[in-house]
């Protein structure tokens, strides 16, 4: 029996701010993320990141212990900055706080100044502090704050560069490539914040750099002040864009994530408007191919119920895309409490005539309970959805972070026309594998929409409507 829990989180669907900060920094060239906290934070995060990307990933720590907790973290932070500077000579060290150092109230900016003063004769990397208390919001906000901190510290106006800044949010390296490729086709020069495409999907070269020699450079971040505009693919990571707009008049466009047909159209329109660009034939062709794939798939996908969880803009984007495919999103869940998310999904629901259970700030336990009631033929999300999918006997289509039980998480692509085509193939084939026999006939008779409507439990939706408001 499910009780309405109000306090506990069971199997969270969000991570803490420092993780978002690290995710953002993995796309910055020659930069070391340094978590000012106890040793466990960096190790836990590296564990999640490495098993997802299957790449060597380094995250430094100030390794606070009980003694330094009492006297403050100045000694540890100074020591860590010294060791990293001397040993790895990065271009930049980004120091992110943790729940520990936020609670003891360490003045990271002050300590960094002190470190700089003590090393006036030495060449130092750029050092930027970011406040990322783990007890405020989620990893999504950590990502957002980190990009903002980078831009605040570095963006410098000089001459217009004719480029468009793209804040990606936490997307896969493959999706980062898709976005870059689309921009290239559109003949649009861009600055990607941040570019994980090479760093987190690296060739085998006998080099295992603890610092990445690819990714967004400091110079590029400085140059963001001179761009035509900034497009934040995820609405939840647009603080840097708003800063650039306010301070340097760089126009800001927030979202939507170019996932699926309509959203990619909107992204292409935004890019073309900002850059005064024409849509080339190659992009038109990719768009046509996506439509073709959707048409080819439609009879298999139609009216399949889908449950989706992950980061807020991914979930809302996927809600729209699966609706475009004629599927019925039945449960949509994000761990981050966000009104923007709820509004987005409500808008999509109205437009598409769907009525999903919306869990904003929900956990995977809530989601599982909702799936039991609302039903789902397929679940889309990260590897933590596996036990729910198994118990409900539905397939889990793995997209998001973390995915540690399958190979190739860095190569999963859903963005742009091309990524969307990959996704259409993948979801349709997953459904074919699961619900169709080898001759291509459906194994289980699926219910029609009318029956579904008859079975719909109105009271249940109201229950969850009230939960959104919490």
């Amino acid at each position: 029996m499910h009780h309405d829990k109000k306090f506990a989180v069971v199997n969270p669907s969000k991570m803490c701010q420092p993780m978002g900060a690290v995710q953002a920094l993995l796309g910055v060239k020659n930069t070391m993320p340094l978590i000012h906290g106890s040793q466990g934070c960096s190790t836990y995060m590296r564990f999640q990141l490495i098993r997802h990307f299957r790449e060597p990933i380094e995250v430094a720590s100030t390794s606070m212990n009980e003694k330094t907790v009492i006297y403050g973290g100045e000694f540890n932070l100074m020591k860590a900055l010294k060791n990293i500077t001397e040993k790895q000579s990065p271009d930049m060290i980004v120091v992110t706080s943790s729940c520990l150092t936020e609670t003891i109230g360490d003045d990271m900016a002050g300590i960094i100044e002190k470190f700089k003063d003590a090393n006036l004769d030495n060449e130092l990397p750029v050092i930027i502090p970011v406040s990322t208390p783990s007890y405020v919001e989620s990893h999504v906000e950590g990502y957002n704050r980190t990009i903002k901190a980078l831009v605040e510290h570095l963006a410098t106006p000089s001459v217009p560069n004719g480029k468009i800044n793209i804040i990606t949010g936490n997307i896969s390296p493959a999706d980062c490539k898709q976005v870059k490729d689309l921009l290239y086709q559109l003949n649009c020069d861009s600055i990607i914040l941040t570019d994980t495409s090479e760093n987190l999907d690296a060739p085998l070269t006998e080099e295992t750099l603890s610092l990445y020699n690819e990714g967004t450079s400091i110079e590029e971040i400085e140059d963001t002040a001179n761009s035509l505009g900034t497009i934040s693919l995820s609405k939840h990571v647009d603080s840097a864009a708003i800063f650039l707009e306010k301070k340097f008049g760089v126009k800001s466009i927030s979202g939507p994530l170019p996932l699926g047909f309509e959203n990619t159209d909107q992204f292409v329109t935004s890019v073309c408007e900002l850059g005064d660009l024409e849509i080339p034939e190659s992009v038109e062709k990719d768009r046509g191919r996506l439509l073709d794939a959707m048409v080819d798939a439609h009879s298999y996908n139609f009216h399949r119920k889908v449950a989706i969880f992950g980061d807020p803009d991914f979930v809302s984007g996927m809600t729209r895309f699966t609706s475009e495919l004629g599927m019925i999103p039945s449960v949509v869940c994000t761990g981050t409490e966000s009104e923007r998310f709820t509004e987005d999904v409500k808008l999509i629901s109205k437009e598409k005539g769907i009525n999903p259970v919306i869990l904003a700030g929900g956990d995977l336990f809530d989601m599982h309970q909702a799936i039991k009631k609302a039903g789902a033929d397929i679940l889309i999300g990260n590897a933590y959805g596996a036990s729910t999918a198994k118990e409900e006997n539905i397939p889990l289509l793995r997209v998001g972070f973390p995915i540690f039980d399958r190979l190739g998480a860095q190569r999963i692509s859903v963005l742009g026309y091309k990524g969307s085509i990959e996704f259409v193939d993948k979801i349709t084939n997953t459904l074919l594998d699961f619900y169709y026999d080898e001759a291509g006939y459906e194994i289980v008779d699926e219910k029609t929409e009318e029956i579904l409507r008859e079975e719909g439990d109105e009271g249940f939706e109201e229950d969850f409507m009230s939960k959104e408001e919490i």
Binding site: M15, E58, T62, K87, T103
Partner: protein, 492 residues
């Protein structure tokens, strides 16, 4: 000069005393400096005390709900990460209704800023009550302090005490916040003491036999414990209490009734064996079941203790007959291969001699994230002259070692795995295994098989690093399609 400073450490000379090169004539006290504060910015791979308590010790229990009193991160990262399978079998013959319950669920208090300011006690209390409502099957609830809650001073023991009475099941508080101690080892220590203080001696087992043992420090990684259990069962010995692999909460409560305790992981669990010995006079012996030789020796010791020598010999003979042909094949293939063992703690000394003597490999470096002196003494005793013994190593040091020394294989964790791959060196996860279990006779074959299949995979021949041509011999094997099964047939 028994200590070595890596090139990558020339700016951090403090690291020198953590890296010892074994020299047989060195005095006893020569060993790596260990169990000390981690050097900030050294890129250490250590975890925190909370990870040591929940991740290592208590996360293996099959019927307990875990409530992490933390901002959401610690709860997320602590969920279902370690490969600790559980069976539904309970000591009274009943079945626990949820399969792999320990891996499926983790609860947390999801602390917000206001909780940090005003205290998180109320939220903790409510969360535990809700966890009890959500999971009425659970036989106990364990709550964990983390950095934040350790700092704001929430009195978790008071909450645990109050709710134990209110809910009628044991509620435990583990005060092992992330910043406690130099490494996860502190969390093992705190968890041992908490479990002993709160549980041991509070319940009686449903039945007892003269052949009841406690298996301490065996966490059932990928089914290790089940292998050992099968040996004991055949010998007529019953595992009364497991600490804590595939254990239930009640087993910990009647640990004091074992006739003999066996301590398997001597780093993380000797504490509780000592405490039980002191208070309840239950003797314990340190055991080592990795490899055929150690396993046989230790089964004989245990058999002797209970007067079951013949039974032990029977188990040993039976298993040896099964594994010997395969091990012979692997020994042939693995002889002369250079290997590093980078374990969390004891596996570095458990495996050093077996890999050398039983499989013909050369162990040229061992390391540990959190061992103490006693562990390094064993490492020193069980390694060959010139072996590098590293305390709290980091990936840059490992990279330097691999680049200079070019091992054929490293046994390490997932954090080192892909770095080794980039350098063209295969790596096996020794913390949570590849295709385990790795313990006992059959387990040692699994380990040998994994090492063989990693080293001999044709992919390594395709990597064309300039000054590092791939060894040619590996190709031959792939083409001939030689397998241990074929080999065994031929030899017959």
């Amino acid at each position: 000069m028994p200590y070595k400073l890596f090139d990558v450490d020339k700016e951090i000379p403090e690291r020198k005393k953590h890296t010892y090169v074994k020299h047989c004539s060195d005095p006893e006290e020569c060993m790596p400096h260990c169990n000390t504060t981690t050097i900030p910015g050294s890129m250490s791979e250590r975890g925190c005390a909370f990870a040591g308590a929940k991740g290592v010790i208590t996360g293996a229990l099959k019927d307990v709900v875990h409530v992490v009193h933390s901002p959401v991160g610690c709860t997320f990262y602590a969920g279902g990460t370690k490969r600790y399978p559980t069976s539904p079998n309970m000591p009274d013959g009943s079945k626990f209704p949820i399969e792999n319950f320990n891996l499926k669920y983790v609860c947390g208090t999801d602390l917000m800023e206001s909780d940090v300011v005003f205290g998180g006690m109320k939220k903790l209390k409510q969360s535990i009550i809700e966890a009890a409502q959500e999971f009425p099957e659970a036989n106990a609830i364990y709550a964990y302090a983390t950095c934040t809650t350790g700092l704001i001073g929430d009195d978790m023991d008071a909450v645990a005490k109050e709710l134990t009475t209110e809910l009628g099941i044991d509620i435990l508080a583990f005060n092992a916040p992330g910043f406690a101690g130099p490494s996860q080892s502190k969390g093992h220590h705190i968890a041992n003491h908490t479990l002993f203080d709160r549980l041991v001696g509070t319940k009686e087992p449903p039945t007892t036999t003269p052949y009841d043992i406690g298996l301490i420090g065996e966490y059932n990684i990928d089914g290790d414990l089940w292998i050992l259990e099968s040996y004991f069962k055949e010998m007529g010995i019953r595992i009364l209490s497991r600490f804590t692999g595939d254990a239930c909460h009640d087993e910990l409560c009647f640990m004091h009734r074992a006739k003999l305790n066996l301590v398997r992981c001597q780093r993380s669990a000797t504490y509780i064996a000592d405490l039980i010995k002191e208070k309840y006079d239950v003797p314990y012996i340190n055991v080592d079941f990795f490899s055929t030789k150690y396993c046989a020796e230790n089964l004989r010791t245990i058999g002797k203790y209970f007067g079951l020598e013949e039974e032990a010999d029977k188990v040993i003979a039976d298993r040896m007959a099964k594994v010997t042909p395969e091990l012979e094949f692997y020994k042939k293939k693995l002889t002369g291969k250079k290997v590093y063992i980078f374990s969390g703690g004891p596996k570095s000394w458990h495996l050093a001699i077996p890999l050398e003597n039983e499989l013909g490999m050369e162990v040229t470096a061992v390391a540990s994230q959190f061992e103490h002196e006693d562990g390094y003494v064993k490492m020193k005793n069980r390694t060959r002259e010139g072996t590098l013994i590293v305390d709290d190593p980091n990936s840059m040091e490992l990279e330097e070692m691999i680049t200079k020394d070019k091992p054929d294989l490293i046994l390490a964790g997932i954090k080192e795995k892909y770095m080794a791959h980039k350098l063209g060196v295969p790596s096996i996860m020794i913390h949570s295994y590849e295709n385990g279990p790795y313990i006992g006779f059959e387990g040692f074959v699994n380990l040998a098989k994994d090492m063989y299949s990693n080293i001999y995979n044709p992919v390594w021949n395709m990597i064309d690093f300039e000054e590092n041509p791939a060894p040619e011999e590996t190709e031959i094997d792939v083409e001939s399609g030689e397998t241990p099964e074929n080999e065994a047939k031929v030899s017959k």
